[in-house]
């Protein structure tokens, strides 16, 4: 089992990287990578929320939705869990760790409508993953997303200094750049079969 857990982690971080291979999370990806600072802040916050909400979703799915055949409500329930958790985290962080909140709070709000955060519990449910497998997927996705954010931010800082043609400045070149990174990440393809 642990081998599978490890495989899931590596696969979701590198080979099936959410941004470069599954094209999810793009809005945040492009939104926060203009500066390294925001990219790092988002990475940290995102990974935390990802793991916790995946665990919550897993328990509710296994112990409530499956027994009562409420599977068809998963969209509503999972987004509800994410939203509720983010709201709770927001409130608690404000009280308990105001400095941390000052640093990371803004990212919390952005996360609610991120597609990866919702995709992970949905995939967990579809694949009937166990608890540890679900955590591995969440952690791997978080790590992969963080990696993508940080690489992208470091490159975009450099791109800031480049003479990009006017029409391509901003998003267009960021898209082309992401395409090139995705091309490089194809090197990982075929390494693990899930």
């Amino acid at each position: 089992m642990w081998e599978k857990v490890f495989t899931i982690f590596i696969a979701s971080a590198l080979i099936n990287n959410f941004v470069f291979a599954r094209y999810l999370g793009l809005c945040i990806f492009f939104g926060v990578t203009k500066r390294m600072e925001t990219a790092v802040g988002m990475s940290v916050t995102f990974t935390m929320v990802m793991v916790i909400s995946a665990v919550l979703s897993w328990f509710i799915y296994m112990y409530v939705m499956v027994p009562y055949s409420l599977g068809f409500l998963k969209i509503v329930i999972f987004i509800g869990i994410v939203a509720a958790f983010v709201q709770a985290a927001d409130t608690m962080m404000k009280k308990i760790a105001p400095t941390l909140y000052y640093k990371l709070g803004i990212y919390l709000a952005l996360i609610v409508t991120n597609c990866i955060i919702l995709a992970v519990p949905l995939i967990n449910a579809d694949e009937h993953y166990g608890l540890f497998e679900s955590i591995a997927l969440a952690l791997g996705s978080g790590a992969g997303f963080s990696l993508a954010l940080i690489i992208m931010a470091s490159i975009r800082e450099r791109l800031d200094l480049a003479d990009v043609p006017k029409s391509f400045q901003g998003l267009p070149i960021a898209f082309v750049l992401t395409g090139l990174i995705a091309l490089a990440f194809l090197g990982f393809s075929g390494m693990i079969t899930l």
Binding site: I150, V164, F185, G187, F188
Partner: protein
């Protein structure tokens, strides 16, 4: 300090005024680029020797496309046209040297076009591209035309022969059928090493002849156009990892030498991973870059679905180069001491 001459004192014999230093190195970007192209001449000649006229036409098409694409894009973007500075030539040459001799001529043309226009000019031109243009060009055509790009001809060592037999590359054989089969094909181990060294094997045009590549690399090292940091760590890492993990009989039984001499490792390590623009510029970061590229190459070759890992390894490390440079900024003279004092 660009003060203009004071008018009340008529300047004496038209003196040139500029900010120092007033002496500059003889070196120029053009000289470097043309020298690197020159260093690839032995490998180019070997390509033509082994793969015949096909190779020559692929090389010409690729270079011409690269130069024209560069000039036309710069014209459209209303930038000074610098297509003759040798960097487009070099990119074109490297694209050609990275495709097999079996391909139709539009493939190197597409490769060069993507290399120059999308990878280089769109990102601001010389010096600003994030990815190695030639390698992106190659990756692009590999994915777009996988069939032709993985069809290799046997070396013919005859300029005129047009129809060659297709065969697998040594790495392909090693991956698909194992070492025993590889030795069968090349008869003996020494014949295998000999053929790998001189380049008498299937593969991309320029990558086959280790001898020719090392000759060019030595020239670049002596001229100090490249340093040891990236190529040596790159090659050493591939050697070590394929030796440790590459064998079927357990740890430390891999045939490292075959891995070092086949595929694009030598060309990649000396001519492509060393591209200034797309690698880190801090020495310590270059070592990390080399080790990382080596580790990824070994990983892809041994674990991935695709027998050849150098191209993807370098492209992946290109992604990390800005991060490495950023994280490993050199220690400013006296910075540590200054911190000490503040405490």
């Amino acid at each position: 300090m660009e003060a203009s001459p004071k008018k009340e004192q008529p300047a004496q014999p038209n003196l040139i005024v500029s900010v120092g230093p007033h002496v500059r190195t003889e070196e120029s970007v053009q000289a470097i680029m043309w020298s690197v192209s020159g260093a690839l001449l032995p490998a180019t000649l070997m390509a033509v020797y082994y793969f015949g006229m096909r190779a020559l036409s692929i090389i010409l098409v690729s270079i011409v496309t690269a130069i024209i694409s560069e000039a036309v894009t710069q014209k459209i973007l209303k930038k000074p046209v610098t297509a003759s500075d040798g960097s487009a030539f070099l990119t074109g040459l490297l694209v050609a040297l990275n495709v097999p001799s079996s391909v139709s001529l539009y493939i190197p043309a597409v490769g060069s076009f993507v290399a120059i226009v999308i990878t280089k000019q769109l990102f601001g031109g010389l010096g600003y591209n994030i990815f190695n243009p030639a390698l992106i060009g190659r990756a692009f055509v590999l994915i777009s035309f996988p069939k032709q790009m993985t069809t290799y001809f046997e070396p013919v060592a005859s300029i005129m022969s047009a129809d060659a037999k297709t065969t697998a590359t040594p790495l392909g054989i090693l991956k698909e059928d194992g070492l025993a089969r590889l030795l069968e094909v090349f008869h003996t181990k020494s014949a295998l090493y000999g053929d790998l060294f001189w380049g008498n094997r299937a593969g991309s045009l320029g990558e086959t002849s280790v001898a020719a590549l090392l000759l060019g690399a030595a020239f670049l090292m002596i001229k100090r156009y490249i340093t040891w940091h990236i190529p040596v760590t790159f090659i050493a890492t591939v050697g070590a990892l394929t030796w440790i993990f590459g064998g079927k009989a357990g740890l430390f039984t891999g045939e490292a030498l075959i891995h070092l001499m086949s595929g694009g490792l030598i060309m990649g390590a000396f001519f492509m991973a060393t591209d200034y623009v797309t690698g880190p510029s801090i020495r310590s970061a270059q070592i990390v870059f080399g080790v990382g590229a080596g580790a990824l190459t070994a990983l892809i070759r041994l674990k991935g679905g695709y027998p050849e890992g150098v191209m993807f390894a370098i492209l992946l490390m290109n992604c990390f180069a800005p991060l490495l440079d950023r994280r490993m900024r050199s220690r400013v003279f006296g910075k540590a001491e200054a911190k000490e004092i503040r405490k």
